[in-house]
């Protein structure tokens, strides 16, 4: 079973450099770098508290965290414009926050409250914000790909290509590249020349299954070959590199209507979901992961570069802690949806005879005879 535990093939920073090409924060304005650190810190803080709230039974169901993926998440969202559309998988808290969704309302959704971003209907896996064009986290692996592709198709009816054209970003995990919807969606995007960038967040694992064990071509960015879609791999721990790679692909999508496939090499510091102890990980692997946490690394890098000093950093971290604490308080104060709201979103267009029976109700409403 040796070969079965997570190998570190295809995760070597060296290799990532080759394929991605990280850039020193020197290239970017100080405020920008600091803002990235602020966002990454907020996500980190949010996810840690979400995990805690789950153990306190404030959050139920499945809860998947972005711990370890903060640089990738922030880099991708920095590349996306407000006018662009985003589709993600169920591991999307960080994307929602970096997309500018209200921290309190995101936490409220995890708590299943009326003020949640999806009115408490969706929970952790199904965050949505029509206004910010975050068109959903999706819990079915690969389920977001065809709709994201169709959203890009809709954009082609809105107008021609150009630097200001809207585009779609569709995020997915590495394991998702093995499902049929991946193949069908990328093929459609290619033949219809759609303005969409597919992003694979390669954290090396499905749940416990490694990329090498699951994918015939483990260099996932190469899997665009079956559609002539150009692919690129980038170091997911390098927020600027991620942003630049995503921006370039989005640019091509806008101006040339050519889809792209971006692979960000990232790391999942914890289990698949908050309830997974990740026993399948070798101790060596667990130790190695600790060294790959993007937060301390980026912090040190910024301090090194003189962009950030420890006080500012501490201040940013304190701010994040307060913001998340406030979010928890807000969520906790938000009421649960009332029983009479059960059928509120049953249909967008109401029609006669829409079923409204509660468990144990007769199939016909009392006094229906009079109505006929």
């Amino acid at each position: 079973m040796a070969g079965r535990t997570q190998t570190s093939r295809s995760r070597r920073p060296a290799k990532q450099q080759d394929d991605g090409g990280a850039t020193a924060p020197a290239d970017v304005p100080a405020e920008t770098s600091i803002d990235y650190y602020r966002q990454m810190t907020l996500i980190r803080e949010f996810e840690l508290r979400a995990g805690e709230m789950y153990t306190r039974a404030k959050i139920g169901g499945y809860c998947h965290l972005n711990l370890g993926e903060e640089a990738t998440v922030v880099g991708l969202m920095a590349a996306l414009r407000p006018t662009d559309y985003l589709f993600t998988n169920y591991r999307e808290h960080g994307y929602a926050l970096a997309r500018g969704m209200d921290t309190g309302r995101v936490m409220a959704e995890l708590f299943g409250r009326v003020d949640g971003v999806s009115a408490g209907r969706g929970g952790s896996m199904h965050l949505f914000d029509a206004e910010r064009r975050m068109l959903g986290g999706y819990g079915i692996v690969g389920g977001q790909l065809p709709p994201a592709t169709g959203a890009a198709l809709a954009l082609t009816f809105r107008g021609g290509p150009g630097p200001d054209a809207e585009a779609v970003m569709c995020q997915m995990g590495d394991g998702t590249t093995n499902i049929g919807a991946f193949h069908e969606s990328l093929n459609l995007a290619a033949i219809w020349q759609l303005p969409i960038v597919y992003v694979i967040v390669n954290n090396g694992l499905g749940m416990a299954t490694t990329v090498e064990h699951a994918s015939g071509e483990p260099d996932l960015y190469k899997r665009g070959c079956s559609y002539r879609i150009p692919g690129e791999r980038v170091d997911g721990n390098d927020v600027t590199a991620v942003r630049q790679a995503a921006e370039a692909m989005l640019q091509r999508a806008r101006t040339e209507r050519r889809p792209g496939l971006l692979e960000a090499m990232s790391h999942r510091l914890r289990g698949h979901s908050v309830v997974d102890p990740a026993r399948y990980r070798s101790r060596e692997e667990t130790d190695r992961l600790r060294t790959l946490d993007p937060l301390p690394a980026f912090r040190a890098q910024l301090v090194e570069a003189g962009v950030l000093d420890d006080d500012t950093a501490a201040h940013i971290e304190a701010e994040a802690a307060e913001k998340v604490a406030a979010a928890v308080a807000f969520a906790d104060a938000s009421p649960e949806p009332a029983p009479d709201e059960l059928f509120r979103f049953a249909y967008a267009t109401d029609v006669p005879n829409a079923p409204r029976m509660m468990p144990g109700d007769p199939v016909l409403p009392a006094g229906w005879e009079a109505a006929v």
Partner: protein
């Protein structure tokens, strides 16, 4: 009123809605150059061009899901799935996505799309190409499922489906495409969720939909000649289901037979029978009976296919059994 085919009625509705609303686009396999497996979209590629009449690769999950995303951005896609048998390839997008997105995201985005697909056996297409799986979709909250039986209904229901903001599955039927009927000119918009008493009667109620509603009307006429008054309820909509019209009819007639093309166990007729048994319990003179398909993968051989599928003779036989068993009550 002009007599046109069920096929023509569907075509006319598509064309009229495309002319009326530029957000209406068609997606499907071979709907353009080939003009559709069953020629519903004949001429539309020429008229509206390859953007709005879009031939897709053989990727049911991909293009049905793409229609969902396009609908989320305000388009009104009408997808053709060549037959309901192939909808299984897209069913995760239909049931886990189209049906869930409006409610699961708290009503932030409707999914105004239509899936047109024919079902039905009797064409010797064998087991994988002859199924009637509409009961699966009828079971799913978030979907609307309509099943027109006449050209007039086909036109009015397709128009209503396209203008509805929820995902609507419009069940067509291979054996109805060539049937003719009077269709009023101009715009007709049906009300989704209503059944219709298409033949009034007093002795027994026959419930059907799509092809079975056509057979039911024919059989009712034959009984009328013998002085037996059969009422026919055409469900028209499987979801929502108009239980009131069904039960009101049976409370009047006291007897009910359901004709359905799908398999007996767990088929559409099971819900109808259960509904009647509850909603008209004190009025029933005889147990509700179902006439449905034999429970086998449908064989190709004509000799076996014929006997496996329900037909007018089987319906007549069961109606007579019902009437004989309850002479007292007439």
């Amino acid at each position: 009123m002009p007599e046109i085919t069920y096929r023509q009625a569907l075509h006319d509705a598509l064309r009229a809605e495309m002319m009326r609303d530029e957000n209406v686009v068609l997606l499907g396999e071979e709907i353009g150059l080939f003009e559709g497996s069953y020629k519903i979209t004949a001429g539309l590629l020429e008229e509206f061009g390859p953007e709005r009449v879009r031939d897709t690769p053989i990727s049911e999950e991909g293009f049905v899901g793409a229609a969902i995303g396009a609908a989320m951005l305000g388009m009104r896609p009408v997808v053709e799935i060549m037959t309901i048998n192939f909808s299984l390839l897209a069913i995760d997008q239909i049931v886990n996505h189209a049906a869930k997105i409006y409610g699961m995201f708290g009503g932030q985005t409707p999914v105004p799309m239509v899936i047109r697909t024919p079902g039905g056996g009797g064409q010797q297409l064998a087991a994988t190409h002859s199924q009637n799986l509409e009961v699966w979709y009828a079971h799913i909250p978030g979907l609307k499922v309509v099943a027109p039986s006449t050209p007039a209904d086909a036109k009015a229901m397709l128009t209503a489906a396209i203008r509805d903001d929820d995902p609507v599955i419009l069940l067509e039927n291979l054996s109805l495409y060539n049937t003719k009927g009077e269709v009023p000119e101009g715009e007709q918009v049906a009300t989704i969720g209503k059944a219709a008493v298409t033949v009034p009667g007093t002795d027994l109620t026959v419930v059907g939909y799509s092809r079975s509603a056509v057979i039911a009307r024919d059989v009712a006429r034959r009984f009328a000649d013998q002085g037996v008054s059969i009422e026919v309820v055409d469900l028209a909509s499987l979801r929502p289901l108009d239980r009131q019209t069904i039960c009101a009819s049976v409370r009047k007639t006291g007897r009910a037979v359901i004709l359905e093309d799908d398999w007996l166990s767990y088929g559409v007729g099971a819900e109808i029978a259960a509904t009647i048994a509850e909603g008209a319990f004190d009025y029933l003179d005889a147990p509700v009976r179902r006439v449905a398909a034999a429970e086998v993968p449908l064989p190709y051989a004509k000799s076996l296919e014929r006997i496996a599928l329900p037909d007018a003779d089987a319906l007549i036989k069961v109606i007579n059994e019902q009437l004989d068993a309850t002479r007292f009550a007439r």
